[in-house]
Amino acid sequence: MKYSTRGTPPPPPELQLLANFFSKFKLPLIIIILIAIGARTSFYTVEPDEEAVVIRLGEYIATEGPGPHFKIPFGVDEIIKVKTQVVHQLEFGFKTVDSRPAITKYAKRDYTQESLMLTGDLNVADVEWVVQYQISDPFKYLFQTSQPVKNIRDISESIMRRVVGDRLVTEVLTTGRVEIAGDAKVLMQEVLDKYDMGIRITTIKLQDVNPPKAVQDSFNDVNSAKQEQEKMLNQAEKSYNRVIPEAKGKAEQLIAEAEGFAKEVVNKAIGDTTRFNELAIEYKKAPEVTEKRIYLETMEELYKRISGITIVDKKVKGLLPIFSKQEVVK
């Protein structure tokens, strides 16, 4: 033996004292402790968001609201507190990983089992939704069904498929959201009421509703085609707006110019004829003299301007050859 066994060390004085105390007041002390424990465990507090179900020797006695309450201690009364004011939420097709405010993250790994469903036209849609419920009767919630939350989940999945199954996929993906959620809520409550399990559905809300992942790209392509169409129309309208007003302006310009021309022509005619008429009046008074005067004035002006005048006497013959051939041709 390597280790020598030593005698147990004497207990410290404090413990000694306690032991003495015990041996002196054995029975009264036990009774005092029991009373203390009894007093300590004979009341309980129900928080404002809770209700408490009181079970006495296995049997349901009452449901108590918030505040302090008494009960029979030593396991006779059992208290089960249930959060009746809290709105519980179940998620289908996704799962909130971190719901601290402002950083709600969603895990979207593979809940497609839950979210993929057949539509009425035998297509497939990927529907995500949440169910919010409150416990309306804590006793029924606790004792009517063995797995209340699983029941709510199962029924919710079944009802959502039933509602979606009665609609066209297009409706499910586009316009039907609100109606689907509303119908699902009513039907789901009906089924849960049949179980009488103390659950009240407050809301069903559809989250993302999409075509299945495998076909999503092609659905997006249709959307982008629509965008393209819009863009093309806008471009065409743009070029319309660029060309037509300009052409209208130019047309007005052309007409205005024609009108200007018309005024000019008529005015010129009036001017010309007035001048001519005036002259004609004088001419008629002395036709020969006037004619002569005008003739001479005209010739005077004309000959003054013209540099190459050749005057030929009638008697001179064979004059023409003095011009070069070219000039004759001209």
């Binding site: 049997e59 069904t145 169409q229 052409a247 005619a269 001519f276």
Partner: protein
């Protein structure tokens, strides 16, 4: 001495035995539970359905508790071929309750035992019912969808008559009249399984078709159809877009030509009528003095037409040169 031994050892032993006997003769049935008493393995008396404190013969009688609440059965997905030869996975759940405690304990002992019975009975019933119907019967619950299709058709007809471009964006699918429907199928499964389960002391409350999905190969085909359909629709939308664009461009050309030619026409009319008016003014004035016009216009024409570098060969006979001769 003797007395103190009695109080010190025997009394506590008697006390403990008395306590054990007392506890063994009492039992508590809590809410949500039911119990049956067996005496040396044989059931005795009526099952206890109400919660509370009860008494029994100590040591010889045993209490067996079973659940009184609604219990949930969750089956594994079943691969089923519907009547129209579509391969599908059917996942059902059911709610049940132990109504005949004695029978339940005798036939399946406990919930574990009940589960395996439920598995076989409900899976069988589900398979039988689903495979005897077309897939659509398990998907839809009513024929309301047919009315919607009719509405859509009317709308398309109206649009066609109004000459609006129609893109049938709808995902096409199989729309068939249903005769039974989803809820009735659940009911049929329930009816089929009910009696078998009643023999086990089980009341079947409901059966829910939780999930119905295509088997993978079918699913792939459905997706392929959806994809090709989307592609077709996208193409159609694009080509309608191009068509609309061409229409607008055509309108531009048309209006342009119209505007330009209209303007040209009007301009020419204006010019023409002005010229006519001018001509009338001239004619009216000149006709009165035809001879003078002849003369004066000739003079003017000479003046205007002959330029400075014109070469003139004039005869001295001309009137102008009369005095030169």
């Amino acid at each position: 001495m003797n007395n103190s031994k009695f109080t010190g050892i025997v009394l506590p032993i008697i006390g403990i035995v008395a306590l054990i006997t007392l506890f063994s003769s009492m039992y508590i049935v809590t809410e949500g539970k039911q119990a049956i008493i067996t005496q040396l393995g044989k059931p005795v008396g009526e099952p206890i359905n109400k919660a509370g404190l009860y008494y029994k013969v100590p040591f010889f009688q045993k209490v067996i508790f079973v659940d009184k609440r609604i219990l949930t059965w969750d089956g594994l997905p079943n691969q089923v071929t519907a009547k129209d030869k579509k391969f599908i996975n059917v996942d059902t759940t059911a709610r049940w309750r132990i109504v005949d405690t004695l029978k339940f304990i005798q036939t399946v002992q406990n919930e574990q035992g009940a589960k395996s019975k439920l598995d076989s009975i409900l899976d069988g019933a589900t398979r039988d019912v689903i495979s005897s119907q077309n897939l659509v019967e398990a998907v839809r619950n009513s024929n309301s969808i047919l009315e919607k299709i009719e509405e859509k058709k009317q709308e398309i007809k109206r649009k066609r008559e109004a000459g609006e471009p129609i893109v049938e964006e709808e995902v096409s699918g199989e729309i068939a009249q249903i005769d039974v429907g989803r809820e009735k199928l659940s009911q049929m499964i329930l009816e089929k399984a009910k009696d078998d389960l009643a023999n086990l002391g089980i009341e079947l409350i409901d059966v829910q078709l939780r999930r119905i999905s295509y088997e993978q190969s079918v699913e792939r085909k459905v997706y392929e159809r959806m994809i090709s359909e989307r592609q077709r629709i996208a193409e159609k939308i694009r080509s309608i877009g191009k068509g609309e664009k061409a229409k607008i461009e055509g309108r531009i050309n048309k209006e342009l030509k119209q505007i330009e030619s209209e303007a040209y026409k009007q301009a020419e009319i204006i010019k023409g009528s002005a010229e006519a008016k001018a001509a009338a003014i001239y004619a009216k004035s000149l006709n009165r003095n035809r001879k003078f016009y002849d003369f004066i216009r000739s003079m003017e024409a000479y003046k205007n037409s002959l330029s400075g570098d014109t070469k003139l060969i004039l005869s001295s006979d001309a009137e102008f040169f009369k005095y030169l001769r």
